[in-house]
């Protein structure tokens, strides 16, 4: 694991960094205030939860509505099966996350902080609980540890707010956004734990320092979960703007020949290996190149795996994780996943493939939340990158695809 900034200090084998070590290594925590928000603006820090939204702007929008009673939710739910960066960060550097949450609360004038940690990530939950206990009373009084249900959509911002308000982690319709009306109707900042950790370091070291860590025009570092056909899968911290090839090298190289890379997780999409190699992993710049860093998943598919089977399994998971709040998502994803599974099994129905294209276009934008949109984007990336495999499967058994 590279030791750039978040994981500077003792190696992972040493476990969670204690408060004493944290204070000794980094010094006292600065205060959170309006100036910090401006610093974050200049630093170019964008959210690490998947949407890559500028952190400074988000804090500003909550502050503008805050009347001293705003709420901060540190989002460590991490419902994406392929992502492990948030749980790793919380398990090893809980105090960085807590620092960031406290800074955010002071900056947006919140009087309540919820640490929303995925209940299935037991090491992270334990480390955060212990870290809370190590904190002085003044800090600990404002912090509440809230285990999040282990479901895919539980980490969605409105689902987190809904969980606090009603005890059920289902996404709700926006408007109103959490920054306008969230927990108890108060302006709520929902921020990914990695983003908060970066903010905690920027508060100490300044925006210039953060920008200098990145490559080319990208700023700062990012946590990636590298998985799939690599020698050393795991969580690594890399400078923003480095290439996928460099990342794969850091992970010990690819086992076999890479066919495609899943970038961003189930909510991201496939990129062909040829295209991916030189792509710059910059959360801000990647969309222009046709990719999305999302929550930092880089998963390699080699040519011994069946891309259709992998895609079908992912679609199945996304369909099963539907909150069943609206027809287009529940029934749409179910049909899409069933058709994808049939194609993966090389036993498609007549018309499955063109129907995938058609239904996908119909489902997009029609859901009560954006879960179906993400699933459809993923599927469309699969249909595009694995076009020949899909066509071959559709033509299986001598049946024409259309």
């Amino acid at each position: 694991m590279t030791n750039l900034s978040l994981f500077a200090g003792r190696p992972p084998s040493a476990g969670a960094e204690s408060f004493a070590d944290h204070a000794r290594r980094l010094g006292a925590r600065p205060a959170g205030n309006r100036a910090l928000i401006d610093t974050l603006d200049r630093s170019g820090l964008v959210g690490r939860g998947g949407a890559s939204f500028p952190v400074g702007i988000k804090w500003k929008s909550v502050l503008s509505r805050s009347r001293g009673a705003a709420v901060v939710i540190a989002n460590g739910a991490e419902g994406e099966p392929l992502s492990r960066k948030d749980q790793t960060l919380m398990a090893l550097r809980p105090h960085l996350v807590i620092d960031g949450a406290l800074l955010a609360a002071e900056a947006v004038r919140a009087n309540r902080i919820l640490l929303y940690v995925g209940e299935a990530h037991r090491a992270a939950v334990a480390a955060m609980a212990r870290a809370l206990a190590e904190r002085p009373a003044a800090d600990a009084r404002r912090l509440i540890l809230l285990p999040a249900p282990a479901s895919y959509v539980a980490g969605e911002a409105t689902a987190a707010v809904n969980f606090v308000n009603t005890g059920v982690a289902t996404p709700t319709a926006t408007p109103p956004r959490p920054s306008e009306r969230g927990v108890d109707g108060r302006p709520t900042l929902v921020q990914n734990v990695e983003s908060l950790a970066h903010a905690a370091l920027i508060a100490r070291n300044g925006d210039g320092w953060f920008r200098s860590l990145g490559r080319h025009e990208a700023a700062g570092t990012v946590l990636l979960t590298v998985s799939g056909a690599v020698v050393k899968p795991g969580v690594i911290e890399v400078p923003c703007g480095c290439t996928v090839d460099e990342v794969l090298e850091l992970a010990g190289g690819v086992r076999g020949t890479a066919r495609a890379v899943l970038l961003g997780g189930y909510f991201g999409g496939w990129i062909s290996a040829r295209q991916a190699g030189t792509m710059l992993l910059d959360p801000k710049g990647l969309p222009a190149a046709g990719g999305s860093l999302g929550c930092g998943i880089v998963s390699v598919l080699d040519d011994t795996a069946d891309p259709l089977e992998v895609s079908a399994r992912i679609m199945q998971h996304l369909a099963n994780e539907s909150a069943a709040q609206c027809g287009p998502c529940f029934f749409g994803l179910r049909s899409l996943s069933a058709a994808t599974t049939r194609l993966a099994g090389r036993q498609p129905d007549h018309g499955d493939l063109p129907q995938l294209h058609r239904w996908a276009a119909m489902v997009k934008g029609r859901g009560a939340c954006r879960h179906p949109d993400g699933a459809v984007s993923f599927l469309q990336s699969a249909l595009s990158v694995f076009e020949s495999e899909f066509a071959a499967a559709a033509g299986a058994r001598g049946r024409k695809a259309s």
């Binding site: 005890g167 982690a169 709040q325």
Partner: protein
Amino acid sequence: MNNTALWYTTRGAGAVSLVLLSAVVVLGVLSTLRFESTSWPRFLTTGLHRNIALTAVVFLALHIVTAVVDPFTHLGWLAAVVPFSSYYRTFWLGLGTIAFELLLAITATSLVRGLIGHAAWRAIHWLAYASWPVAVIHGFGTGTDTWSGWMLVIDLFCILAVSLAVGTRLLVQSPDPLADDRARFRERVSRKVTK
């Protein structure tokens, strides 16, 4: 002669609009009941609801235009948009204006539902339950033919059809195909320990 033709057209279009709009309301209620059979899929109900609604708007426009340009009633265009602004049967005509404008809002929002979002669309659509009865009362109050037997029959038929549909809706639990799955999901993501 022109005047008479206009007048007959106004009345004819009014009666036809009433029948069409009643059908629209019935189809709308049937949509919420998710009625379907092997030969009658759900999109047929909603499709008819939409098509007949748009047809009704056309005939309603005819009804309004012929009424306004009829030199006999001296309505003026203002009466078509400002309720209770006509001298001719001020109150009953005003009701018609109100019903028309409610329908206009419903139609407009339905056409741009994608832009305004589902919640806003739904809120305005509820006004249908206000627009229809107001239109019926308008017809009773201002209609030349109200007490003609044939018109009474038409009125009765429309009122009966809508009442039946709404009554059924109130009594029958609309089958929600997602209810079970949604409950199961909520069970999964609910807080176990009460705080």
